[in-house]
């Protein structure tokens, strides 16, 4: 038996959707700091994409006649110990950050969410095995875990991504598992069971979409966290290898010239802070808009 629901299509399908979007946007941009964060993130992405056009110098080109130059009209933020332009290196560092953050989070989210989905949906011993494994991963402080994985695999972009990805994975698995457990209890899932829908259909048509809002918030929040963690790793000298520009590594390299050229450390650190702050604020805004229950939970 099929049930015909008679709702005038004009109001039910079009209007509420529009106003829902309006509501989301209004809540999202309610605080000025979220607008600021959005602008910073957009600028960050643009700078990363168009780095070769924006950067005044080649970030890798050494100029031994101009080592450790103070900020001037030619070099707005001075040059480092190899005569490379600091501003250009910061601009290219944005590329490194964003590439690592996006790929790490995609990796962590894909694996973590799958594990969480399996654990939450099937329950039983699958849940026990997956969640104990996740607990074990969670008991390593993330930075330490990334440090060890990076040490085992060696440096380089790919290995940093794997290391940070494994560190980020438990958060997604946990949240997804919890979400699935609560979404699974809804009547519409029961209804699907009753009409004999396959597990795949229930998971992908009903459970997965309804689990998404808090996960989107988590992904945004974690952008800041990944950038911070990557900076920490490269500060320790474990992340990205030498000539490539990474903000954390630049802070570490500048540390040695703190007395004479403090800007070498200050400027890249400020870049890290600005971008992480922006992602956190946008994450807060998204959380308010998408899932008010999460307020303060992250």
């Amino acid at each position: 038996m099929s049930v015909q629901v008679n709702i005038p299509t004009g109001t039910a399908e079009n209007l509420p959707r529009v106003s829902e979007w309006h509501r989301l946007l209004r809540v999202f941009f309610f605080r000025r700091v979220v607008i600021f964060g959005t602008i910073v993130i957009l600028a960050f992405i643009i700078v990363a994409i168009f780095a070769p056009f924006i950067a005044p110098y080649n970030p890798y080109k050494q100029n031994l006649n101009e080592i450790l130059a103070q900020p001037s009209k030619e070099h707005l933020l001075g040059t480092d110990s190899l005569g490379r332009d600091t501003l250009s290196r910061i601009i290219y560092g944005a590329r490194t950050s964003i590439v690592i953050a996006v790929t790490t989070l995609s990796l962590a989210a894909a694996i973590g969410m799958t594990l969480g989905l399996l654990a939450g949906y099937y329950g039983g011993w699958i849940n026990v095995i997956i969640m104990r494994f996740i607990d074990a991963l969670m008991s390593f402080p993330m930075l330490l875990l990334a440090l060890i994985i990076a040490a085992m695999l060696g440096g380089g972009l790919k290995n940093v991504i794997i290391a940070l990805g494994v560190g980020m994975l438990p958060g997604y698995a946990r949240l997804m598992c919890g979400q699935v457990l609560s979404v699974r209890e809804n009547d519409y899932v029961l209804a699907e069971y009753a009409i004999g829908a396959s597990n795949m259909r229930i998971i992908f048509r009903h459970i997965f979409p309804n689990c998404m809002p808090p996960l989107i918030v988590l992904i945004t929040m974690m952008m800041g966290l990944v950038i911070l963690a990557e900076a920490g790793l490269s500060f320790l000298g474990i992340g990205i290898e030498a000539p490539a520009a990474a903000w954390g590594g630049m802070v570490a390299a500048g540390y040695g010239y703190l007395r004479t050229n403090p800007i070498l450390s200050f400027a890249p650190g400020l870049a890290i802070m600005l971008v992480v702050f922006a992602f956190n604020m946008v994450g807060d805004g998204l959380r308010d808009a998408l899932d008010p229950r999460l307020r303060g939970a992250l």
Partner: protein, 318 residues
């Protein structure tokens, strides 16, 4: 209740078992021969094949993985973490030397961040929208953002090099020279505390806000109780439970922060040991440090879970 404690203990044991398995397998699947773990690259290249095989036999590396794991874990339980490649000293001695330093810093951090973070969050919640709330919220948002190693460098520049108030690196035991020790740990402690204070304040604020809307708080107001009583006796008891449950995470954060802060300030603690041994590929130390740290985290989480029922009698143990 008893059955819950036993189950929870067993769960923690299983987690620790998986942790040890991950560490063991991780170290075994390292690129290269596990014998490098004990000998170091230089020594090996000067040996004949037979000599290497003899050592392999001596360390039991020719046995099956399972029995290798069992003998490793058996040693660990007895405090035998192997011998460091770089220092040529038992790992346990190296760790015991650094443990007091990390405990000193970690313990102070734990006290300070709770003493500042919780009241800050509570004040924000009570005076929601006021100037104090605005200021603290902004500071907390900056606190969860700032890279601690960079903050450390900024402070070294300002207080160490520019104003010349504080020593810029090193660690002295408070029992040797209390004054110097205190001056040396001020900046590292600030760095270590910033993130936990900020996240504790944020958490305390939001959960207190939630509690302040509850019916029983309105009842308390209408009974004519004083604000202080309502907040201290009624709201905080419930509002701070989520804050306490995050202590485990807080400790993990402090340990991760210690890795960076000890590097910046050149403090010979646990975190610094982890970093240098990772860079030196001194795997026995890495193994030992990770095992200890994750055991601490697992046990803290266990303690938090068990204290849950005491904090919130409504919790049903299942």
């Amino acid at each position: 209740m008893t059955s819950y404690i036993i189950r929870r203990l067993l769960q923690a044991l299983v987690t620790l078992f998986i942790v040890s398995l991950l560490i063991f397998l991780g170290m075994r699947f390292l690129p290269g021969d596990p014998i490098l773990m004990y000998m170091g690259q230089d020594t090996i290249t000067h040996m004949s094949f037979e000599q290497v095989e003899a050592i392999r036999h001596q360390f039991g590396l020719d046995k099956p993985l399972v029995s290798q794991y069992v003998s490793w874990i058996y040693g660990v339980i007895q405090g035998d973490f192997g011998v460091s490649i770089a220092y040529r000293e038992p790992v346990i001695d190296l760790m015991l030397k650094r443990l007091p330093i990390s405990i000193h810093l970690g313990f102070l951090t734990l006290i300070i961040f709770n003493l500042i973070g919780i009241p800050a969050g509570v004040i924000c919640a009570i005076r929601r929208g006021g100037w104090l709330d605005t200021v603290i919220t902004i500071l907390a948002n900056l606190g969860i953002t700032v890279p601690v190693f960079w903050l450390g460098i900024l402070m070294i520049y300002l207080f160490g090099l520019y104003l010349n108030w504080l020593p810029i690196y090193g660690y002295t035991s408070p029992f040797t020279d209390f004054w110097l020790s205190t001056r040396q740990i001020i900046m590292p402690l600030i760095c270590l505390c910033v993130l936990p204070i900020a996240s504790t304040a944020r958490q305390a604020r939001s959960s207190m806000l939630e509690v302040m809307h509850q019916d029983y708080i309105r009842t308390a107001w209408s009974k004519g109780l004083r604000e202080r009583v309502i907040i201290m006796r009624h709201a905080m008891k419930n509002g701070l439970i989520p804050v306490v449950t995050l202590t485990g995470l807080g400790i993990a954060n402090v340990i991760a922060g210690a890795v960076l802060v000890e590097t910046v300030f050149n403090i010979p603690g646990f975190g610094r040991l982890a970093v240098t041994s990772v860079l030196n590929q001194d795997y026995p130390i890495v193994q030992g440090v990770v095992l200890i740290v994750s055991t601490v985290v697992v046990l803290t989480n266990l303690a938090v879970d068990l204290s849950y029922g005491w904090l919130d009698p409504r919790v049903q143990y299942r």
